[in-house]
Symmetry: C2
Subunit: 88 residues, 2 copies
């Protein structure tokens, strides 16, 4: 989706923690959920927001759905911040 959606997706601490977890490699929805004291449905909700923001990609395999980090859109955010700081 859009730049604004990416920024908003990053604004939530649960979602940032999910992204941090994914730095170690792809994880299934269940593995991600087991790190949080929340229902799977809630985790699924957050994963969907991250997916719409293009911050993660999913790949289905067997019975599982694996999520992995996609940082391509992070560059845009960093550019905005750098510009805010007045750097060239």
């Amino acid at each position: 989706m859009s730049f604004a959606d990416t920024f908003k997706a990053l604004g939530d601490p649960v979602r940032r923690e999910i992204l941090t977890l994914l730095k170690g490699g792809r994880l299934s929805a269940g593995e991600i959920g087991s790190h949080f004291d929340m229902t799977g449905a809630t985790i699924s909700y957050h994963l969907n927001i991250l997916k719409k923001a293009d911050l993660v990609h999913e790949s289905r395999e067997k019975n599982f759905i694996y999520y992995e980090l996609n940082t391509s859109v992070v560059e845009e955010i960093m550019l905005w911040l750098r510009d805010l700081k007045g750097e060239k």
Copy 2:
């Protein structure tokens, strides 16, 4: 306040636009408000969030309250993003 508050403050488009306006130099609350189709009270609410996130500083002068950009905390955000991208 905290890193999380800074991230959240940046998640809102109105607040990002305020920060962008302030790139051009300090502005009074009224000057900021005139760029938006919102009441002064709402602008004040957003300014307060930016202030708590340490993204702006205020200075009182005469009858006015001027706001100016403070990007010192932006560096932290950028470090987090850079780390997410797996850069050193």
